[in-house]
Amino acid sequence: MLDKKIRTRLIEIVGKAGLKEGEGVKGYSIDDLLPRAILFPRIPEEVEQIVILALEEGLNIIPWGAGTQMGLGALPSHVDFVVCLTHLDRILDQDTENMSITAEAGMRLGAIQESLRHIGPGFFIPLDPPCAEEVTLGGAVAANTSGPSRFMYGTLRDLVLGIEVVIPEETGKVQKTHAGGKTVKNVSGYDMSKLYIGSLGTLAIIVEVTCRILPLPEDRATVVAGFPRSEAPWACVQALLESQLLPTSIEVYNRETTSLFFKHAAYSAKEEAWAAVRLQGIKEAVEREIQEIEKLIRSTGATKFSILRGSKEADHWKQLGRLGFEVRNTGAWSIGLRVSVPISMAQKISDTIAEEGVNINVPFYQLSHAGSGIVYAHVPLYEGLYKEREETLTQTVNALRKQVLEMGGSLVVEYAPAPFKERVDVWGELEGVFPIMKCLKKKFDPGTILNAGRYVGGI
């Protein structure tokens, strides 16, 4: 509950409609902790005012966008306010001649894409994170989420040109600052945007983002193939990487993943493993790529093969992007892992994950950005099953992490029930550079009011 003085001040800042308490906070829990209030600032200045109040009263803030990534992070040390940025939802500048867009942090990616699609020949932000429609731009930046098309276009670390944030300095000196700009080349001072991208809102609250856009491709197609043996798609991946073809995305996934939500004609239950290759660009180039990839795939023993176009093609990628969401819908106690390894080791770690799944008798729903060395593994769990397997799952995740570290990569638990987060360090231990990160946190957020405890090493 809020005390009267704080409630009055909050209403002064965000208005009555911008404050939710009591029943209204349901749906905003973080690792089973309910906040005392949800605030909906409408302009960046209101974010500043909230931060000032939080500093004065020593209250903790959890920034929130669409909430799709709220499972990410260690257990918070405490939760007072959720600051939900979805009312900061304006496009401030669409400069298609410069190929850039500036929008407020709470604007949904789907809405931005929709707006860009209708300008001239049509444009888009080349970013397809999980739940790509509903995520907010600021949320995507804070969590640095990305999707299959990172293979061609990179991540927000490559796409963001400028950023505006509110830094919670000591009382009375809250700082709204900007970094970067709207030019694609910019080395004026430190590249501060990089610091905020992926910082999970622990250094500052992001209120505005400028990023690159591209013209919509002339043509799009996706090749989907099913294989009776799990190693076959990886042979295709390696051959593709060594070729001069230019696919946008190269994905590999397993039978479990397809079983969850594909009632699609492209799929059947027989195949063990699947690959999807997306091609975008000039018509002639796409046609040739399809032909070559078909040849390649058929030579590696595919038993199912189709070429998707138009809305079927778009839906295919939309569905793949909802994998984690669907798994969590199946069981509220589910666990999701994200593994990043050098590209050539993705197959090995994917195999290991599958074997571990057999050993401990739980299915791992896998989806790999195979051309980028990123493997997602989701385990659908309900409470009973989780409790039964808690110990073995802990051992499995720790063992996987050990192997991933030996490969020179990293393993992050993207979401898990709170009891699991008490057993396993969701981020993994950092060496060497951790004191610098800790010091940065102290300099940017000396009162530790932002997302306390949720980032690496309990930052």
């Binding site: 430190y190 018509k283 951790f434």
Partner: protein, 470 residues
């Protein structure tokens, strides 16, 4: 610590022949490719991260500044020892340690020339995308320090987009790893902040870069114009048409003349501007794109177009562009180049403004630049020995930077702030923005010994915005 004792200690770290401290020896290290000069106290040639670490610890114990140096091609004074101290020369750490095709990575030491890496990769069918014009002599370590660009960066991004891992010696001498061969590591993106930090946050001793397959087909052509505005408009129109060439470079009359006299590339001497346009990708669809570009050029009154039919012809078209800065030395003893960058559509407008500024100060200005990403390189030509002229040049340069900021651009696209543009940072940022940068600097380098006096101007935050040191 007495200087003699300090020198002896440096010698015990890197070996006797690897410390330069005689006044005549040091003069070679007082400059880079900018107009700034300052003498170091000593220059040391390191061959390992451990040596760099020991040198840094020594500098700390003596409380004197230190800074890294590669080939010294820096254009903004970043390599000039503004406050004296120890120069840590990295040119002998010049080994390509690993080329890992399966993972599309290369591991290099900082003193490797950009071109040396390209030459090692090309026979394997690979390349490293950032290609600064200085690549024959500039080092990968220097490229990381400055977050260098280059013609290809239009399509493929700058250095930061291609650096995946670093070994860094921090300003307290600790050796740490940032990033690696994989793409994702938890925690703040320290690698992202160290790239482009101009050697002010530590010294990079190993670099993991992304390498890419060479494109199947490359088409290079030269478009010749009778007006700079038409050439500028062509650039805007190509981008607006949704075509993303690999490079889109421009040179104006003054530069063409200098280049032609120097390398005989076959550029027309009576043209007002030329564009070098290069497309890369799959062979299929390439002709279609070439046709569209030709149409856009024609619409903008191109006088003539020349397509490179062979690798030799392509190299000939490029040699002039890459040698342009050196070539203007034939016209005047000195030049100052700045690299203000503007939103692409503002290019024709800003080019006009640059010409006006040249007239106003009575200094000739040549233009050679990365037109596709709005990255200008006005070369202001003059004679350094004439102090009056030097002052005018500095003023003209700052006025150009202000003009770039006025249209929503920035003061440096790829050359860095260094010493040269330190005060121009105020055009772009308020004290709060700069204070955030100082938080980073103080985190890494609380004693301000690591390449001090660069990149971020000093501020007095207590007094607020009025403390701006304009």
């Amino acid at each position: 610590m007495k200087k003699k004792k300090l020198i002896r200690k440096m010698e015990s770290i890197v070996g006797k022949g690897n410390v330069v401290h005689s006044p005549t020896g040091l003069i070679v290290y007082e400059y880079d490719a900018s107009l700034h000069r300052a003498l170091p106290d000593a220059v040391t040639f390191a061959t390992s991260a451990e040596q760099v670490s020991s040198l840094i610890k020594l500098a700390n114990s003596a409380n004197i500044p230190f800074l890294p140096r590669g080939s010294g091609t820096n254009l903004s004074g970043g390599t000039v020892p503004a406050k004296g101290g120890i120069v840590i020369e990295l040119s002998r750490m010049n080994h390509i340690l690993d080329i890992d095709l399966k993972n599309q990575r290369a591991l290099v030491e900082p003193g490797v020339f950009n071109q040396t890496l390209q030459d090692a990769l090309a026979p394997l069918g690979y390349y490293y995308a950032p290609d600064p014009a200085s690549q024959k002599v500039s080092t990968i370590g220097g490229n990381v320090g400055e977050n260098s660009g280059g013609p290809l960066c239009l399509k493929y991004g700058v250095t930061t987009n291609h650096v995946l891992g670093l070994e860094v010696v921090l300003p307290d001498g600790q050796i740490v790893q940032m990033g690696g061969k994989a793409l994702e590591y938890p925690g703040y993106d320290l690698k992202g902040i160290v790239v482009g930090s101009e050697g002010t946050l530590g010294i990079v001793t190993k670099i993991i870069v992304r390498i890419m397959r060479l494109a199947e087909e490359v088409k290079t052509f030269l478009a010749i114009y009778d007006s700079v505005e038409d050439a500028g408009q062509t650039v805007s129109d190509i981008i607006a048409a949704g075509i993303m060439p690999a490079t889109l470079e421009m040179m104006d009359k003054l530069v063409l003349k200098a280049v032609e006299e120097s390398v005989h590339a076959g550029y027309p001497l009576d043209a007002e501007a030329v564009l070098i346009i290069e497309l890369d990708g799959l062979a299929e669809g390439m002709n279609h794109l070439v046709q569209r570009i030709i149409e856009i050029c024609k619409k903008n009154r191109v006088r003539e177009m020349e397509v490179a039919e062979s690798d030799e012809e392509r190299d000939r078209l490029w040699v002039g562009r890459k040698g342009a800065f050196g070539a203007v030395g034939r016209l005047y003893p000195s030049y100052m180049v700045n690299d203000g960058t503007v939103p692409r559509a503002k290019l024709p407008q800003v080019l006009k403004k640059v010409a006006e500024i040249g007239k106003k100060y009575g200094v000739p200005i040549g233009n050679v630049f990365h037109a596709g990403d709005g990255n200008l390189h006005p070369l202001i030509l003059f004679d350094e020995r004439d102090k009056n002229q030097l002052e005018l040049v500095k003023r003209a340069s700052y006025e150009i930077l202000q003009a770039c900021v006025d249209v929503g651009g920035t003061i440096s696209g790829e050359h860095g702030i260094g010493i040269e543009k330190l005060q121009a940072m105020w055009f772009l940022f308020g004290w709060k923005d700069l204070d955030a940068m100082w938080k980073v600097k103080r985190t890494f380098d609380p004693r301000n010994l690591c390449n001090p006096g660069k990149l971020v101007p000093e501020i007095e935050t207590e007094k607020g915005p009025t403390a701006r040191a304009r």
